[in-house]
Chain length 390, copies 2
């Protein structure tokens, strides 16, 4: 029998944070009080309205396959949400309910990007997206981004890096790990540029809703020819339910439906019934309260990290991450994260998990934990850096 | 923007049955009493023990990501099931909980088969598997199989069709659409052959448990170097929960974990908590009762289809399908299925959905509906073929 994994797996990077997580669990098993600031998952439970909607359906026992594209009534509700929140009209047939944003991204690339075609994305960025491209035999080119463009790709980046092999551009706003947004003008220009170049534009909008200073803009405001990836995981608090959605251009509907049938049959039925309650007024009220709490945490963490001497050139406006430059303290942020965990029991994510550009000087702090816990974490961090700088 | 789907999508076949399903729904909306014998989904609800286990977890609201490989306690329970049911010992670290068997198959191929490498499979077979291979840039070669080998690939098939490009063999037992099993001897020889040829062996065991004459054999009885795909959908009645599992050889554990993290993060948490109750004695008792019911249905349908003049060269021993040769009535089974639906309101699946070998002479009947309904369906079928042959 074959004794080793297929070649593509050698190009799929591991997450450095996994090593940290394992160590954190070991420490916890030994009784250490570990504070988790590495986790990209809201600490809030799933809103009760969603839980109730799921329970009501599951109790019937009739948890059967749904259509591959999702429950028709859920697709209609998602379309209604775009109308209400963004004022854009989306034909619900362009909306596919997917097993998380991961499923949406696999579907989007699978339906639109050929092997060896290249996808442009920012560095730093969420690493799984590039690994999914690798799975499909597509190439990715990461473009170093910095504070001057809010860590977002611009039309100029796209034009400068576009080659004969390039066929797609991925923009994530709010961005993981930087929490920064692209401005509506920049987004429009980026879309127009890709449009003229004849490529595919993928807009990762999974942190929409979790925006604290100004509303995020959907790419659909500027074009019906873009792919939009979204999720019920983050704003709607449904991580473990594995449900997201993908919006495709009209011309891709048929192929997307076929591909969905083949690669995942359908999204979890209980999760879809839960999501039917996601846009109810009660749910949205609860989610807006949580958003206010996240905003307060963002401000708390931002102020404290600045106070301690970390550089944050752009105040993050969304998601639940702050990406700091730690070069004042170390040239090896990975080792810093390991040492900090060991010495103080606080887990954070090293920059290497998000690319290579300035990665050794970068750390991601997630404010997916309470201000009370972050207060302790900041005391520990202060002690740690004071000790290190002795 | 790009205006048309990526090239791979032109090689991904649509399901003919979808057209039938759409028409069936339209007829139902008009008040026609349609009997569904096209559906690969048990008509039983999810067993109450599983529903209760899910409810108990969901009620906490703490529906969070699990590890990518699945809940550790579920992996241990699956390992225990192999010990108890098959007498084989599997290290639970080789077991990955997946979003359905679809997720398992994508993971298995992704981790082991390179682009342009070729996978051998039977014709007829379940079509999604070949489409997933296409998604990854792998090739498939289907080998016509017939009654003489119970519609299963044999060691001889494998040797005869192996070329420099071949690197994998997929065997599904019980098979969809034929319901036939491979014998333990043939399975062992097939595995040994692939072993000697240095390829990968994939055993699709998703219909295990739904076997009526003799116990199905797992490929793991003969080798630790095979990939085994299984599912909670069929025997355990959990279709809409989207949960299955994959067992990989030791050398592939690390790459599989990495790939799982990247392509789906984790399987639905509620589904995993439900599955924790799948191996309880109460659940298994209920499932064995259902199996007895399926066995009675199989016998009923088999006898009736033979009586009406359809050829069934091998009595199917498992799954919930009977694959008949209908050449006595038509040379175009697809048209036959469309006409039968139109005239009599019974939906069945045309052979074309499972390959090309004798597909125009083949139809799949699913006994995922009660004997009462099948009694009516058989009356309608009798009337239909008598009218057609006038």
């Amino acid at each position: 029998m074959r004794k080793q994994p297929a070649e593509r797996n050698t190009h799929i990077s591991s997450f450095y944070v996994m090593e940290l997580l394992r160590r954190a669990k070991l420490l916890e098993a030994q009784g250490v009080d570990v504070i988790h600031m590495e986790i990209g998952e809201p600490d809030f439970p799933t809103p009760p309205t969603l839980v109730d909607a799921a329970l009501k359906h599951i109790q019937t026992g009739e948890v059967k396959y749904t259509p591959a594209a999702g429950l028709p009534e859920l697709r209609i509700k998602i379309a209604g949400f775009y109308q209400q929140r963004y004022g854009v009209t989306i034909d619900e047939h362009r909306i596919f309910v997917t097993p998380g944003a991961s499923g949406a991204f696999l579907l989007a690339l699978g339906v639109s990007l050929n092997p060896n075609e290249e996808l442009l994305m920012a560095d730093p960025c969420y690493p799984c997206n590039s690994n999914v491209a690798t799975l499909l035999g597509c190439k990715t080119k990461t473009i170093p981004v910095a504070a001057d463009t809010d860590y977002q790709l611009t039309a100029k980046h796209i034009k400068d890096h576009w080659t004969g092999a390039t066929q797609g551009v991925l923009i994530a706003s709010p961005s993981n790990p930087t929490g920064t947004l692209i401005s509506p003008e920049e987004l429009k220009q980026a879309i127009d540029t890709v449009d003229k170049l004849g490529g595919c534009f993928y807009s990762d909008e999974i942190y929409h809703g979790l925006v604290y200073d100004n509303q995020a803009t959907t790419a659909l405001e500027f074009s019906d020819e873009v792919f939009v990836i979204n999720s019920f995981s983050k704003y709607f608090g449904m991580t473990g339910w594995r449900i997201g959605w993908l919006i495709v251009p009209e011309a891709f509907i048929e192929a997307t439906e076929k591909l969905a049938q083949n690669i995942y049959i359908a999204t979890s039925t209980a999760s879809q019934y839960a999501a039917l309650a996601a846009f109810d007024e009660n749910t949205l009220t609860e989610l807006e309260n949580r958003r206010a709490e996240f905003a307060a945490r963002r401000d708390f963490l931002y102020d404290n990290l600045l106070r301690l001497g970390f550089e944050i050139p752009v105040k993050p406006a969304g998601a639940f991450y702050i990406y700091v430059n730690c070069k004042k303290f170390t040239d090896d942020s990975h080792q810093f994260a390991l040492d900090f965990l060991e010495a103080e029991g606080v887990a954070i994510t090293p920059g290497l998990d998000f690319g290579s550009h300035e990665a050794h000087h970068s750390l991601r702090f997630a404010y997916t934990t309470s201000i009370a816990k972050m207060t302790v974490a900041m005391q520990r961090l202060e002690r740690f850096i004071n000790r290190e700088s002795l």
